[in-house]
Symmetry: C2
Subunit: 342 residues, 2 copies
Amino acid sequence: MTTIKDIARLSGYSIGTVSRVINQHPDVSEEARRKVEEVIRREGYQPNSNAKLLKQRSTSSITVLVKGRMNIFFGSIIEHIQTELRESGEEAIVEYIDDFDNEVLSAIQLCNERKPKGLIFLGGNIEYFRKDFARIDIPCVLLTNNASSLGFANLSSFCTDDTAGSAEAVDFLIRAGHKKIGIVGGSADEDDVGEGHIDYERLRGCEAVFHKYGIPFDRRYQYVPSRFSMPDGYDAAMKMFERFPDVTALFCLSDIIALGAMRAAADSGRKVPDDLSIIGYDGIPYSYYSVPRLSSVQQDAELIARKGVEDLLIRLNYSRPAQHEIIPFRVLAGETVKKPKE
Amino acid sequence: MTTIKDIARLSGYSIGTVSRVINQHPDVSEEARRKVEEVIRREGYQPNSNAKLLKQRSTSSITVLVKGRMNIFFGSIIEHIQTELRESGEEAIVEYIDDFDNEVLSAIQLCNERKPKGLIFLGGNIEYFRKDFARIDIPCVLLTNNASSLGFANLSSFCTDDTAGSAEAVDFLIRAGHKKIGIVGGSADEDDVGEGHIDYERLRGCEAVFHKYGIPFDRRYQYVPSRFSMPDGYDAAMKMFERFPDVTALFCLSDIIALGAMRAAADSGRKVPDDLSIIGYDGIPYSYYSVPRLSSVQQDAELIARKGVEDLLIRLNYSRPAQHEIIPFRVLAGETVKKPKE
DNA sequence: CATAGTACTGTAAACGTTAACAGAAACATT
DNA sequence: AATGTTTCTGTTAACGTTTACAGTACTATG
């Protein structure tokens, strides 16, 4: 392996000068720079990043910590994060952790091991682990929950208002004439739906709307938890049909789940939207191309990603305080919501 | 930051002993081990990986290099890779590169920067860069092309036989009674379809079957290139309808493309499968849940991932020669292929 | 009792880099 | 001519580990 020493020897300069050339320091003569660069190119020399990081005590990379299984909505956010970071000359490392792992503890471990200079969280619910979060001392961005209430100086958040988005979805169904509405959640564990949890926030929005219209809603019958995958959405919808057979509309807390539910509807002899209306959440491309086109509360994955990356980069470079911004959503009418038959 | 020195000081042992405790060396007394571990736990000490790697000259991690945009088939392979590696106590870092980047050159850069101990390639076509590949000296696995012909000692490959899979798809359509078959490809660039390219291999399989049945096939009219995304599939299908209006069946070189094509069919007034049959490739979960259920040549993402990881780990530990294995596929009949009307 | 072996422990030299510091040379200023 | 300043360069001490080597203190063996 060629090291900086070899370059120094071959170019006739000292390792100090070579290092300065590599790191674009100004105190280097034109001639030295030229000669050293020539040797570097000729030898195909690449600095050893471990040695570099050992000295500098941090990486040049930003880690994206994704909680839960591969999911196309997160996937598209990740893709946009990658694009944004690349444009700024930064490198993203994506790390997936299990749905049941504690993301904050995983993040701490990650910080120790790989020393990223910034962290982006996707999924999960930091609120539960606020105590541990205090141990993270690099800038963080949370893209799937609002963290303004947590009050950590190093934690920004950019996300849509889940409560408002869900309210609007249910409002949309009710205005279409539905009263028997089922809700398919995204939370894996029924017992787990506490404050800050994605299902909790979304259900809260739903219930407020039911209340506004004076429509009764019983969480025990009309809410089925699920997970962010099609098979899980399928199963949850089937369970819903069993539990609540005369349901006329489904609000699925993610498009993936909604697409699974569409198949479940077909398999249980329900035609969408004639027998069953469905509205999803996220606005993934797949839902846009489904037949019929899925109605959905659309989040702007690109905007969320861009805001998050921009904020992180600014805070990394100018130590600005953390920000919390609500990203607007919009309801795409689609083709899966229709006035109920009866 | 706590270092090994602090642990040594606090435990009353030397850094040598502490290091031996950390690395599970046998030459440590029970007492020393116990005491040192106690201090490590108490202090929450984490070894500095950069220092460790600087000494050991390689990472403990395996890098997955994914070419192209976020794509659910690759996504599910990645997920399985992650699972497999985690079970073996290994760590996976996923790196996405642009569709137009050269994956081998990217890999070389990656090796220099992060020093992974193994590399898994997803997507792309190493064949084009065989010359550069010789510069990579760590075990590699290619999961989307057969690399047996390349003859690199450090390159294994595990993938389905694209030629045979495509042949079977077309055979399936012809046996259903279709003669006017369009093929929607996965290759971004029409000029680019050369040997080793995924479209090249698949088209070859198709043409052989057309030939076998004595059905004419003109690549210029009946083949439209596309990319692995729904919008691209949609556009390509629309182009196909324009170019070849009386097409009765479509073979899409990926399910994502097929799902886009299904929407295109709907938008152009074609009912699937009554007016247009569609068969895809990959067998992603989404296609299984689509209505109607997509017919598809299913690849076993989990098996591909597992074989790849197993091979990599074995070669990492026992320096076995590289392997090349063809993973079987199977045609899922689905609901989108039907006898044509006329 | 001498010797050899065993079980453990400490020391110190690497690994490849950065950056603080000092020194040299050239030039400018008094 | 002496001094100060600027521009460049080399030297060297870290950074936090691992590991070869050398030791020490036992225990076992002849």
